[in-house]
Amino acid sequence: MSYQPSPLRLQREEARRLASRRSTWLALLSTVVVGVILILVVTGSPGFARVRETFFSAHYAWKALPQVLSGLWLNLRVMLIAEIFVLIFGLLIALARTTKSPVLLPVRLLAAAYTDIFRGLPLLLVLLLVGLGIPGLQISWLPNSAVLLGTVSLVLTYSAYVAEVIRAGIEAVNPAQRMAARALGFTQTQTQRFVILPQALRKVTPPLLNDLVSLQKDSGLISVLGAIDAIRAAGIQTAQSFNFTPYLVAGALFVALTIPLTRFTDWLTRRQDRARQQQGQW
């Protein structure tokens, strides 16, 4: 026998359809209203003509683009290299902080001191101390390239953040998992590698990616050491023309670089939430 939807169900579905159509219209309307108000306020402001000329000039944007892009290429390389080292060091520091072995107490203390200091120090300060301090020592075999020292500063600072995120993940794994692994005969190290870390990293992937997004954007700060990155390149252009559009170009490019990673993070978070919902763990 074929199923006949009851009138009640049809009625309910009709009501739901109406409600959803109504909310679509409302969303559209409110977006348009807010947009119009914003445009009116900004374009109606007394200084608008000047601002448009100094920040949104198509002419200067086009002129600055090649230099800014080649600066961005430097940012891109710094980001990628820093990210790789940050993930490696962050993981090592997190592991050092979560070991229980008494022999490793000094390592544990050092790791704790390191994360405390570098999470507290403003990145700008680290950049200045490392980038100006190390060349100042005039030790011949130490590098004094602004790019290299800037990257080192990024790695120093972000390894501390990432280590804390990973450590939180390790501590969030149910202790019974460790016990079950040990009961099967796994050593401490094997337990960490096959059972604890995979679960920990899965738990903290979204906050971890967030830190990487933040690192990408902060790679622009190495310009304070004189490295010709996108921001520095924009600054040079601006100094020549007294037009700030190149900065806006650099900003737009940075945003464009981070958007894929932020979207990916959102997508991952949503997927994990859905998985958790299915397991009823709310």
Partner: protein
């Protein structure tokens, strides 16, 4: 006469002032199944945890297949790799599929190749009606299925002895039945087991010998039917009366 797989001599264990196991001795011959019963807090779990070296003992000795595993300098990882333990909370690894859960220890603790471990695991899963679950993740299985997988995860390593601690306590009656029938099959296959349980029906069915624990001592020992029908000590009489009162006997 089969050899002794497990021999415990004068085992003493306390938590602070709290004496949990008081000079307890027992032997477990090969292929035998002994079941521990007793009130909550009588020391059943502690005893099992001492045997697989998850608890440090105060005094006494534990021999596994003739070797003193309570001796100083014994590597607990090696000992545990030859003991199977399954707990009330199944503790399957949630990031691994059923098959990966079962093959992880054979591959990395017992040095089997991936293929050998997989073949063996699939055979075991098929034998116990879980073959079609091999690629699923534990979260999607019923409690009974999860617990059976947890038992197979221990069994695949061919442990000298299998320790089961209240493996059915977290399950519904229907799911309990499928776990218990798995354990009965293991007994038929000759597995040496020590089991702590509150399921008297199961204890009677599977035990070669029943051990009644009371305040960290073995208070009464014997054939399950005899022990449950005509308890001699007042402690066991009280315990059974309480169970009967709760409708659990």
């Amino acid at each position: 006469m089969a050899g002794k797989i497990l021999e415990i001599k004068n085992l003493r264990k306390s938590f602070g002032q709290d004496l949990v196991l008081a000079d307890l001795s027992l032997t477990l011959p090969e292929h035998s199944v002994k079941v521990l019963i007793g009130a909550s807090g009588s020391g059943k779990s502690t005893l099992l945890r001492c045997v697989n070296l998850l608890e440090a003992i105060d005094d006494g000795e534990i021999f596994l297949d003739g070797e003193d595993i309570s001796a100083y300098g014994i590597d607990p990882d090696v000992v545990r790799s030859s003991i199977g333990s399954v707990f009330q909370s199944f503790n399957l690894f949630p990031h691994l599929s059923v098959l990966e859960n079962i093959t992880l220890a054979p591959r990395h603790v017992h040095g089997k190749s991936k293929m050998a471990a997989t073949n063996e695991a699939m055979e075991l899963l098929a034998r116990f009606g879980l073959a079609e679950k091999a690629d699923q993740y534990p979260d999607l299985l019923s409690g009974g299925q999860q617990q059976r997988v947890a038992i197979l995860r221990a069994v695949i390593n061919r442990p000298k002895v299998l320790l089961l601690d209240e493996v059915t306590s977290a399950l519904d009656p229907i799911l309990i039945a499928e776990v218990l029938s798995l354990i009965s099959e293991l007994k038929t296959a000759g597995m040496t087991m020590m089991i702590a349980t509150h399921e008297m029906g199961f204890a009677r069915q599977v035990a070669d010998e029943l051990l009644f624990l009371h305040n960290g001592r073995i208070c009464e020992v014997g054939d399950p039917a005899i022990l449950l029908e005509s308890p001699k000590t007042p402690e066991l009489q009280d315990f059974l009366a309480a169970l009967r009162g709760a409708g659990r006997l």
